[in-house]
Amino acid sequence: MVNNILEFEKPVAELEKKIEEMRKFGDSYDIADEINKLEEKVIKLKHNIYDNLTRWQRVQLARHPARPYTLDYIQMICTDFVELHGDRLYKDDKAIVGGFAKIDNQKVMIIGHQKGRDTKSNLYRNFGMPNPEGYRKALRLMKLAEKFNIPVVTLLDTPGAFPGLEAEENGQAEAIARNLLEMSRLKVPIIVTIIGEGASGGALGIGVGDRILMLQNTWYSVISPESCSSILWRSWDYKEQAAESLKLTANDLLEQKIIDRIVPEPLGGAHKDPLYMAETLKKILKEELNKLIKIRPERLVKTRLEKFGSMGVYEE
């Protein structure tokens, strides 16, 4: 974990280390008071840091390698998960996982991007960057859910759709476009949650739904700050400014009325207390599901069309 401390978290880590060291001497010296004071200071410092994160810092938190990923959430939130594989056309994409599951007693089709934790698993998962077959698998599962009247829950966490040779040959654009069209008219509820990175079309490809939720320290935009920097500033060095300009945090997107709700994270990020994080997400997913399953399919589809129809600012 030592390597995973982000630059802006260092003051907290230093203080925590100091407390740790003092505890070791706790028996021989009466320093409980001192430790208490320091602990208070840590909490204050944490609030100070995490409540005032810059947009770029949130992007870094969204990418934190210790964050829970889709399969972690499925394990913590769901029971009886039956993973389903393959697009029935070409391949099984490991960067998108999905299957039947239950959230308490509610059956769902849960689908999400899946990243890896180390080099080996990241290569296996293609760093969470889907190929067309991933989007086609997701669509197949959604149509399956529709057939049996099961609501769809999607979890978004991708640095983007894979920009590869084969991906283009196999119709990356067509696969994403098809999903947007089909998701917009799917006759079961869809709840979308951004749990990490929501990079552009690669995220939106499983991101059209009735409720769009975002965990507190995630980002969602049309392009990553790095790519934006390289295109508009012609240099990789302006990612902080690009992140500020893109207004890509959960707070920003709530203000832009693109998402419906922010799911609060534990202090310091989802990875600081994954179980608590999963509990919070589960509670909110259940709330939203309970509301949506009561709505007639025609109404659901119509409202979804209007929801995305209202997004965008222009002058006439």
Binding site: A161, F162, P163, G164, L165, A167, E168, E169, N170, G171, Q172, A173, E174, I176, A177, R178, L180, L181, E182, S184, R185, S200, G201, L204, G205, G207, V208, Y220, S221, V222, I223, C228, I231, L232, W233, Y238, Q241, A242, S245, L246, K247, L248, D252, L253, Q256, I258, R304, L305, F308, G309, M311, G312, V313, Y314, E315, E316
Partner: protein, 283 residues
């Protein structure tokens, strides 16, 4: 409609070739052939020597496709807001204003209705020269409304794409235009109203990954760059040179993602025959 009443008569391909004025020469970007401007226009901005399809805008496509004086523009005045107060090396607001002045266009798409071989259609055509034909809220909204027009009037929808993708300066709003337009096309499809997508050079990114790839029939101009990721990004990712012809119209046809490639001079005629098959019972 003011642009359609220009004094310059021979913009239309079927008009009679007139005397060539002096100093009106263009150079083909592909083979460097020097062609007279009026000759070039008569040939639909296609090189007379190498057949290179030069990049043209909505105005030119309208003159090529529509029956004379039938095109009525919609939402002509719609302009981009600046919801993010976006700024990079320039302010987005200034960038838009400069582009409007320079291009004479209000944004990267022109929409409307008109007649092609007598058949009424709803139409959208993008313009690459407006911030790379990028799709922001104006493009998304205008296309959505054109699709609504097709839906309420029960007439075919035609979109000519020419775009680098979603517009960065409108952040997530741009991204959502992909969902907005695709949802409208879903409703169109549910009502058996045809949608024909025409891809021109270049069509990439979020535009390709939404309405461009959703046509009942997808037509491309010869040798147009069509893809999701740009070639430079792919090259950097895989660390290898890309094969000859990669992401060109012919490549997409070979891989099964477009229906047909039609040279510009045959576009109106072929489009007319496709329309005849898909729009028989509509009007």
């Amino acid at each position: 409609m003011s642009w359609f009443k220009r004094s310059k008569e021979n913009i239309s391909p079927d008009s009679i070739k007139r005397e060539l004025p002096d100093g009106q020469w263009v150079k083909c970007v592909s083979c460097s052939e020097i062609i007279h401007k009026s000759q070039f226009e008569i040939n639909n901005w296609v090189c007379t020597k190498c057949d290179h399809h030069s990049r043209i805008g909505s105005r030119e496509y309208i003159s090529i496709l529509f029956d004379k004086n039938t095109f009525r523009e919609m939402d002509k005045k719609m302009k981009s807001g600046d919801p993010l107060k976006f700024s990079d090396t320039k302010n987005y607001k200034d960038r838009v204003e400069t582009t409007i002045k320079k291009s004479g266009l209000n944004d990267a798409v022109k929409t409307g209705t008109g007649r092609i071989d007598g058949k009424r259609v709803a139409f959208a055509c993008m313009d690459f020269k407006f911030i790379g034909g990028s799709m922001g809220a104006v493009v998304g909204e205008k296309i959505a409304r054109a699709i609504d027009k097709a839906y309420t009037s029960k007439i075919p929808m035609i979109i000519i794409s020419q775009s680098g993708g979603a517009r960065m300066m409108e952040g997530a709003f741009s991204l959502m235009q992909m969902a907005k337009t695709s949802a409208r096309l879903a409703r169109l499809a549910d009502n058996n109203i045809p949608y024909i997508s025409i891809l021109t050079d270049p069509t990439t990114g979020g535009t390709t990954a939404s309405y461009a790839m959703l046509g009942d029939v997808i037509i491309a101009e010869p040798n147009a760059l069509i893809g999701f990721a740009g070639p430079r990004v792919i090259k950097e990712t895989i660390g290898k040179d890309l094969p000859e012809g990669f992401q060109r119209s012919e490549f997409l046809l070979e891989h099964g993602f477009i229906d047909l490639i039609i040279p510009r001079k045959e576009l109106k005629e072929k489009l007319g025959s496709v329309l005849e098959y898909v729009s028989n019972d509509l009007n």
